[in-house]
């Protein structure tokens, strides 16, 4: 199986590459359009800021390419947010695969720190990527912006308010949490993606 990881101006891509190796998958990190189109699975990971990453994707014509992919695609963290509609981070229009907004966390009290950083639980999980056995499992989050619960939500997490910790529409999957840093639960989810 050929697995491609989208190379662009976001951080933490090496971590995803390492995680793939740990589950026995040799992935290639590339921005080569043919390699991305012909891969069996594409991972769109990253840590970064929405506007600067989105501008980079547009400049390198990766925006249109990602939207047109037909194989299973997994967005992670900023990758997931970039697959949504408008983001409040940098007030920028993203890829629009999921027609939902990305909003900033507003902490109502000192109990809630922003960024939402650390291990939090998955609830109301549904589907092949995150099956029922992972209900209530802890996964690792680091983010200041979130996607509200919507028709594409396949897992939710509660912080300040319930938000989408995973999304799915057709061949597009996405997780707000870092599956590559989420211990055994994360590795299970990555393996599930490989099995789709």
């Amino acid at each position: 199986m050929k697995v491609a990881i989208v190379k662009y101006n976001a951080g933490n891509i090496y971590s995803v590459e390492c995680a793939m190796r740990r589950i026995g998958v040799d992935a290639v990190v590339t921005d080569d359009k043919e390699l991305l189109r012909s891969a069996d699975k594409v991972i769109f990971p990253g840590v970064g800021e929405a506007r600067t990453t989105m501008e980079y994707l547009r400049e390198h014509k990766l925006d249109l390419l990602i939207k047109d992919l037909k194989q299973p695609v997994l967005g992670i963290c900023i990758g997931m947010q970039l697959m949504c509609g408008h983001s409040e981070e940098g007030d920028v229009d993203c890829l629009g695969i999921f027609d939902v907004p990305v909003k900033r966390f507003v902490a109502p009290s000192a109990e809630f720190k922003v960024p939402h950083m650390g291990w939090n639980q998955l609830s109301q999980v549904d589907g092949l990527l995150i099956p029922k056995e992972l209900e209530s499992e802890f996964v690792y989050f680091v983010h200041s912006f979130y996607v509200p619960v919507n028709e594409h939500t396949i897992a939710r997490t509660d912080y300040v308010n319930p938000f989408s910790s995973a999304l799915r529409k057709d061949n597009f999957y996405a997780t707000q949490f870092h599956a590559e840093k989420s211990g055994e639960a994360g590795e299970k989810i990555l393996r599930n993606f490989m099995d789709l």
Binding site: V47, K113, G118
Partner: protein
């Protein structure tokens, strides 16, 4: 619910793990990569690797070590020690670290916090503060606790937050290595003062100390070294204890 985090800290010198008691008298506690992997299997939530090597050669060894940790450990980890410029941060993040921790270099050049945060995001930038309770005040120290400064803990932590720090790692030098519990009063003040997470460090000797750091000190995470390295408190046992006492842990 967001879980309270347990973070084993590994001091690394020339590629080997060591742990200081009150910052002197090192004892060897093993291979850093294997130790990190064991901790993740036991249920540790994050790891911190501190490079206490001073030499240029040592830095290269440490970067190689970071790459190995990234390859073998499936939980987030922070690296610190000898980070003085953006280039150091870039090198360590490229080697697979999730966050960097800066201490003396931030006190000497507070602008570094803003630069790291601006370039890589606040979540990458952990500002570590070593402070000692002295004449009714918490005084910040440089160089692993060897040089005192005129900066005070609470003001400095607040400034670090304003400059873009993503977390504060507070080590009480008055408690470090003596195993009588964390500096809970100071931690609670930090919790009230800041709106970024606070990691408690220095003083863990018993499971109750972690419980107090969360319940009394309101810490978001608790870091310890020797109690984990020498097997005095297995991480898995600590998690069970905390869960039984009503703390949300993974």
């Amino acid at each position: 619910m967001l879980a309270k985090r347990i973070i084993p800290c590994l001091d690394v010198k020339d590629g080997k793990t060591v742990k200081g008691v009150n910052f002197v008298n090192f004892r060897d506690a093993g291979d850093p990569v294997e130790l990190g992997r064991q901790y993740s299997l036991q249920g540790a939530d994050e790891l911190v690797y501190l490079d206490i090597t001073a030499s240029h050669e040592g830095r290269k060894t440490f970067t190689e070590l970071v790459k190995q940790v990234a390859a073998q450990v499936n939980i987030p980890f922070t690296v610190g020690g000898g980070i003085n410029a953006l280039a150091d941060v870039d090198r360590l993040l490229n080697a697979g670290a999730d966050k960097v921790s800066i201490n003396s270099s931030a006190l000497r050049n507070p602008e570094l916090i803003s630069e790291i945060s601006g370039n890589f995001g606040a979540q990458v930038c952990v500002v570590a503060v070593d402070a000692k309770y002295d004449d009714g005040e918490w005084v910040c120290y440089l160089n692993g606790g060897r040089i005192s400064t005129t900066r005070k803990l609470f003001e400095w932590a607040k400034e670090a937050q304003e400059r873009g720090a993503g977390e504060i790692l507070f080590t009480s030098m008055s408690h470090d290595g003596v195993k009588t519990g964390y500096a809970n009063e100071a931690l609670a003040v930090l919790h009230e003062t800041l709106n970024i997470p606070v990691i408690a460090s220095g003083g863990a000797g018993a499971k109750e100390h972690f419980l107090d750091a969360f319940n009394v000190g309101k810490a978001d995470a608790a870091l310890a070294a020797s109690v984990f390295h020498f097997g005095e408190i297995p991480v898995s046992e600590l998690k069970t204890y905390l869960r039984d006492n009503g703390v949300c842990v993974r």
